[in-house]
Symmetry: C2
Subunit: 330 residues, 2 copies
């Protein structure tokens, strides 16, 4: 079974079928192009989101290395890598599918046009040859008819006893010439018929089968490349899935690395003043000869003590001070 | 190590630290919300893309079931399922992370406000009590000074031989009263001091440690929930990865199911007319007594034959005809 043998009389069908095949490739390329645009846009939005919140993260807290702040930063970085993978998908679809198939499509279009044109040309030649056959045949029929008439006239005049000998010769001569011409036309017709049948045979058993089989082969090649393009649509994304999974693992890790206990302890290290809590206020017994001074001076010491909290021991720049606070306060 | 013991004098630091902790949760919720919007939009675009090309696929070719057309339709359907999974990610992030954490955040804000307010109140009470202590102490100092003066005057007048007995009694009486009052102030001061030291002790060793430890516990709970939200950000997507992989496998399958040979054979089945190719045209020998008729009539038969292709055997509706074509032509 092949187009050349089984569809020898389906030129129009093959024309239509191969065209719709190329249209499908064209439609698929457009489809993938639109997918890559969606993917590009998606990646861009994820990148901007990650950038936006990376900036926002308060500098101080990052330096302080609290796990619950650090982990958010880690997640934002992973999301940025994630976006990079989506961009990769878009790029590979564009180069691996769209560019490839578009190039290939041009060649196929050209190839198809050539085959169909060759078939049309061969058909026109056959039709011209057939018209010539009709003409030679018509001429043979006409000449033979006239030759027969002339022969009958010759026979008639020969049997006419009153005929003049010279006239008889003239008519016989005429009939002879006519018959001769008719025989020549008969030979022309026979030759043209042979020529036509040879051409018709070549047309139906060689030219058309070859051209239609080339079109079938072309269409099957088209489908192979299209199938390749179909598979790539999935394979390209499958290829990046492991890295995408790595990004997701990184995010899970950031979740596990977030440790509340650790952060409260770190906060203590950074803010501990090292001061003792105020001792009891002493009794000042003026009756035992202590001189009552100005109450201000007198009450000065306990006043400082009780005012220890919450107004003193402020740490303005926590992180930078936090190491020194150890050395100075222990 | 805990905030209550080690950060007893860091009210402002704890205030600032716990606030920035809640701000981080708030920022994370906003971040996830924006991610879900991106995801929703991405899914929507993929859905529309798939719908757009599903519609476009020529009805006829789908019915004809050419693998290379059918596979494209399969891919579009898989892409639609794929989009559904992305939507699922967006929904689960919204409900599982944003809604949960936002609810939780409100409770934490309230809880924090309460603890900080209680600490401030306790501190104000202590300061009031300290002012009372200062007052009793000042009064004691003053009264004791006056009592001493009165006592000295009494001693002076006693040793004065010219003094009138009545005056001596009066001055001694006055000194006695003053000393008595001073002793009462001394007792008030002692009592107030005891009261204050008790309150100060409760403040520094009970109230503040308890409140600051509650704040530490609250902050650690906040971090645990935030860490949970971090992990979910990855887990929600991990959960749909197997189904997304199924979609990709479906697309690869569509690629493998695309078979060019099969499609050309199917095309033959649908378009084969079953007609034989034209036989050779016969020689019509009018010289053997065949009557030459009107050339039209005469040339009628071969004319049809050679005109077989490409004008006849048209199949208008391929698919519906294709079964009958078998029955009628074989």
């Amino acid at each position: 079974m092949d187009w050349g043998t089984d569809l020898w009389d389906q030129y129009d069908g093959i024309d239509k079928h191969t065209q719709s095949g190329l249209d499908l490739v064209d439609r698929y390329v457009k489809f993938v192009k639109e997918r890559t645009e969606i993917e590009q846009n998606y990646a861009k939005q994820l990148r901007n989101l990650s950038k936006k919140y990376l900036k926002r993260g308060s500098k101080e807290e990052q330096e302080c290395g609290f796990t619950n702040h650090q982990s958010f930063q880690d997640i934002l970085n992973e999301l940025n890598d994630y976006a990079g993978q989506r961009e990769l998908i878009a790029e590979h679809m564009m180069t691996g599918i769209c560019v490839e198939l578009t190039k290939y499509l041009q060649d196929l279009k050209q190839e198809r046009k050539t085959y169909l044109a060759d078939a049309k040309k061969a058909q026109q030649n056959l039709e011209i040859s057939f018209k010539q056959l009709e003409n030679t045949k018509r001429r043979f029929a006409k000449e033979w008819g006239e030759a027969e008439k002339a022969t009958q006239q010759a026979e008639k005049i020969e049997n006419d006893t009153n005929a003049i000998k010279a006239d008889v010769e003239k008519v016989k001569q005429h009939a002879h010439v006519k018959t001769h011409t008719a025989e020549e036309c008969r030979n022309d017709y026979a030759a043209q018929l042979q020529k036509y049948n040879k051409e018709q045979n070549t047309f139906y058993y060689t030219e058309i089968p070859q051209l239609f089989n080339k079109l079938q082969d072309m269409d099957e090649r088209r489908i192979r490349s299209l199938a390749e393009g179909y598979s790539q649509f999935a394979d390209i994304e499958k290829k990046v899935l492991p890295i995408i999974t790595k990004c997701l693992d990184g995010i899970s890790m950031a979740g596990r690395n977030t440790n509340g206990k650790q952060d409260s302890m770190r906060f203590i290290e950074q803010h501990k003043s090292g001061f003792e809590r105020p001792a009891e206020v002493d009794f000042e017994d003026y009756s035992q000869g202590i001189k009552p001074a100005s109450s201000d001076a007198n009450l000065n010491q306990p006043k400082i003590r009780t005012k220890l909290w919450p107004f003193s021991h402020k740490k303005t720049k926590v992180c930078t001070l936090h190491t020194t606070s150890h050395t100075t306060l222990h």
